[in-house]
C-alpha cells in the first residue's frame, strides 16, 4: 500500500512527560516540616504514621475513584465496605484468637492474611449485591444516588449493630506486630510499617494491572470515555461491575488495616473515614488512581504534622489542603481527560 497520507507537515516530536510537580509535593511537604517539628525522631514518627494512614486511606479510596470515573456514580455507601471489612476480622479472630497472641511472626502474619482474605471475600460478595440492588437502579441520577447509597449505608450500619452489637469491640494487634522498631532514637511502630508495605504492594499491583493488562487498558479507557469503549465492542457494564466489586474488596482490605490501627471496631468507622476518602479522590482528580495515591499520602501527612504542630488546626487542615489543591488545579492533581 502506498504512503497515502504521508504527513506533509513536519511536526515537532511531542514528548511523553511525567507530570512530576504533584509527585514532589509529598517530599517537599515532608522536608519542609522537618525544621518546624525540630526533632528528627518525632518527625520520623509523624511521617511514618502519616504514610501508614495515607496507605490505608488509599486502599479505601482507590475503588471509589474508579467507580466514579467509569460510571459517574457517587457512592456514599462505600463506607459500608470499610466497616464490614473491619468487622470481618472478628470472623477470624474469634476462632483463631490463639494465633493473635502467639509470639510467632508466622502465625501473626498468617492471621493478618486470613483476616484480609475474609474481609475481601465478604465485601466482594456484599459488593455484588450492593451494586445490583442499590446502585443499578439509580444510574444517571446523582441526587437519587446520594440518597439511595446513603440509605444503603444506614441499613448496613444497623445490620452490623444487629449482628455484632452496638458497643465498640476491641481488636488486639497480633503479638509480634505490636511495639516498634527502634533504631537509635528513631522509633517506628511495626504495624504502621506493615501497613505501609501492604499499601505500596496494592498500589504497585494496581499500576501493573492498569498499565500492563487488557482489562486495565479498558478501565483507563472507560474512565475517559465509556461510550467509545462500548462503540469499540466492549460491555462497559461488565467492566464496571468488576471494578465495583474489586473496589469494595479493596475498601474491605482498608477496613481490616484501619481496624488494627484503631484497635477498636465501631459500626460507624467506615462512615467516619469517608470524609477523608472523598477529600482524597477530589484532590487526586476523579478517576485517577495515581492521584488518589498522592492525595492520600498528602492529606494523611498533613493531618499528622498539623496535629503535632498546631492541634487546633488539625480539623481544618484537610479542607485547607483540598482548597489549596483545587485553587491550583481545579480538576485535581491528575485531571483525567474526559469527553
Amino acid at each position: 500500500m502506498s504512503n497515502a497520507a504521508a504527513e506533509p507537515i513536519e511536526t515537532s516530536l511531542p514528548r511523553a512527560r511525567i507530570d512530576w510537580i504533584p509527585l514532589i509535593l509529598v517530599p517537599v511537604l515532608a522536608i519542609a516540616t522537618l525544621p518546624l517539628v525540630g526533632n528528627v525522631s518525632a518527625w520520623v514518627t509523624l511521617t511514618v504514621a502519616g504514610l501508614a494512614m495515607g496507605m490505608m486511606i488509599f486502599l479505601m479510596a482507590s475503588g471509589l475513584t474508579l467507580v466514579f470515573g467509569l460510571m459517574d456514580i457517587i457512592n456514599f455507601g462505600h463506607g459500608v465496605f470499610i466497616s464490614l471489612g473491619a468487622y470481618a476480622t472478628l470472623l477470624v479472630l474469634g476462632p483463631l484468637a490463639g494465633w493473635a497472641s502467639a509470639d510467632s511472626i508466622g502465625l501473626n502474619l498468617a492471621l493478618l492474611v486470613l483476616c484480609i482474605a475474609a474481609a475481601m471475600g465478604l465485601t466482594a460478595v456484599v459488593g455484588v449485591v450492593f451494586e445490583r440492588v442499590i446502585v443499578r437502579p439509580v444510574y444517571g441520577n446523582h441526587l437519587k444516588q446520594i440518597l439511595v447509597t446513603m440509605g444503603g449505608l444506614i441499613v448496613a450500619e444497623q445490620a452490623i449493630h444487629a449482628i455484632w452489637g452496638a458497643s465498640p469491640i476491641p481488636v488486639p494487634v497480633p503479638e509480634t506486630l505490636r511495639g516498634a522498631f527502634v533504631i537509635g532514637d528513631i522509633v517506628m511502630e511495626r504495624y504502621r510499617v506493615v501497613a505501609i508495605g501492604i499499601g505500596l504492594l496494592v498500589f504497585f499491583a494496581m499500576q501493573v494491572l492498569l498499565n500492563r493488562t487488557r482489562i486495565g487498558l479498558l478501565i483507563r479507557a472507560g474512565v475517559e470515555n465509556p461510550e467509545m469503549v462500548e462503540a469499540l465492542g466492549y460491555r462497559i457494564r461488565r467492566l464496571f461491575v468488576s471494578v465495583f466489586v474489586a473496589g469494595s474488596a479493596l475498601a474491605g482490605l482498608g477496613g481490616v488495616m484501619w481496624a488494627f490501627y484503631r484497635q477498636t471496631l465501631t459500626a460507624g468507622m467506615g462512615m467516619e473515614v469517608m470524609v477523608l476518602v472523598f477529600i482524597v479522590i477530589i484532590i487526586g482528580g476523579l478517576g485517577s488512581v495515581g492521584g488518589c495515591f498522592v492525595g492520600s499520602v498528602l492529606v494523611a501527612l498533613m493531618a499528622n504534622y498539623v496535629g503535632f504542630l498546631a492541634p487546633k488546626l488539625a480539623l481544618v487542615s484537610n479542607i485547607l489542603v483540598m482548597a489549596l489543591v483545587l485553587i491550583w488545579r481545579p480538576q485535581g492533581l491528575f485531571p483525567v481527560a474526559r469527553r
Binding site: 500500500m1 511523553a16 462500548e230 462503540a231 466492549y234 460491555r235
Partner: protein, 245 residues
C-alpha cells in the same frame, strides 16, 4: 449468508430518533451498498451525526428498523452492534488521550494482536502513528488524532466503517492527506459511510451520495449524477462544485 448482489449492506427504514424531548430523525430511509463509499451530506444540524449514532445504538431509534448484513440490529446494545462488524469514528474522534497510540490500537483490535501486515498497511496510510507509537495519544496534533481514530476503526477487518467528518478543523494540506487515505481505503474494498461537509472533497471520493436535511433524507443516488446536475446541487446544498474549487 447468501445475499443478492444488490442487497445493501446497511438499510435504514423509517428510522425516528428522539433525544430527550427533541425529535431529531423524522423517518430516515437509506441504504449503504456493499464495497462502496457512500457520502452523507447535509448542512449543520441536519441530523448526520444523529443518524450515525443511531446506527451504532448510541441513541436508540424510537421507531423504524436498521438492518445490517441481513440482520436486524435496531435493538442491539452498542457493543453487539460493533461486534457485528461496524466500526465508528465519531465526530469528536474520542481517542483515549491517557492511553498511548499503541494502547488505543490494542483496544480496537478485539481479537488479539494486530497482524503485522495489517499494521504495516495502517502505518503506510498514517505514518505519524508509527512515529508516535508509544506516545500518549493526548499529545498528538488534531490531524494525528483523527488519523488514530480512523486507524482504530481499521485495526481489524470490519464490514462497515462509519466516519463522521474526518476533515473537520484540519488544515487544507491535512485534508488532502485524509482524502488520499480514504481513496486508499476505498481501493482496498472497504465499505464506508462518510460524513463530509466539503462537497468538493466529497465529490472526489463518493460512489454514492445521501443528502439529509432536517432529519430526513432529501436525496440519494450516484455521486456522478449529483456532480453532473448543478441545479440539483444548488437546490440541495446551496452551492455548486465550482464555488469550492
Amino acid at each position: 449468508m447468501a445475499k443478492g448482489i444488490d442487497e445493501p449492506l446497511l438499510r435504514l427504514e423509517g428510522v425516528h430518533t428522539h433525544i430527550g424531548p427533541y425529535h431529531i430523525l423524522h423517518g430516515v430511509y437509506c441504504e449503504v451498498p456493499n464495497g462502496e463509499l457512500t457520502m452523507l451530506l447535509g448542512r449543520n444540524g441536519a441530523g448526520k451525526t444523529t443518524m450515525l449514532r443511531t446506527i451504532m445504538g448510541l441513541w436508540r431509534a424510537s421507531s423504524g428498523s436498521i438492518h445490517f448484513d441481513g440482520r436486524d440490529i435496531t435493538a442491539l446494545p452498542s457493543p453487539d452492534i460493533a461486534r457485528s462488524g461496524i466500526a465508528y469514528v465519531p465526530e469528536a474522534m474520542a481517542i483515549f488521550s491517557d492511553l498511548t497510540v499503541r494502547e488505543n490500537i490494542v483496544l480496537a483490535a478485539r481479537n488479539g494482536p494486530v497482524h503485522s501486515s495489517r499494521l504495516d498497511w495502517m502505518f503506510g496510510l498514517f505514518p505519524a502513528l508509527k512515529r508516535f507509537w508509544n506516545l500518549p495519544a493526548g499529545h498528538l496534533s488534531g490531524g494525528q488524532k483523527q488519523m488514530l481514530a480512523i486507524a482504530r476503526a481499521i485495526a481489524e477487518p470490519r464490514r462497515l466503517l462509519l466516519v463522521d467528518e474526518p476533515t473537520k478543523g484540519l488544515a487544507p494540506v491535512m485534508i488532502h492527506s485524509m482524502i488520499e487515505a480514504f481513496r486508499a481505503l476505498k481501493a482496498a474494498g472497504e465499505t464506508i459511510l462518510l460524513v463530509e461537509q466539503n462537497f468538493h472533497a466529497a465529490s472526489q471520493l463518493g460512489d454514492n451520495v445521501i443528502v439529509m436535511d432536517d432529519g430526513l433524507i432529501v436525496h440519494s443516488g450516484a455521486m456522478s449524477d449529483l456532480v453532473a446536475d448543478k441545479a440539483l446541487q444548488q437546490r440541495l446544498l446551496g452551492l455548486s462544485l465550482d464555488s469550492h474549487q
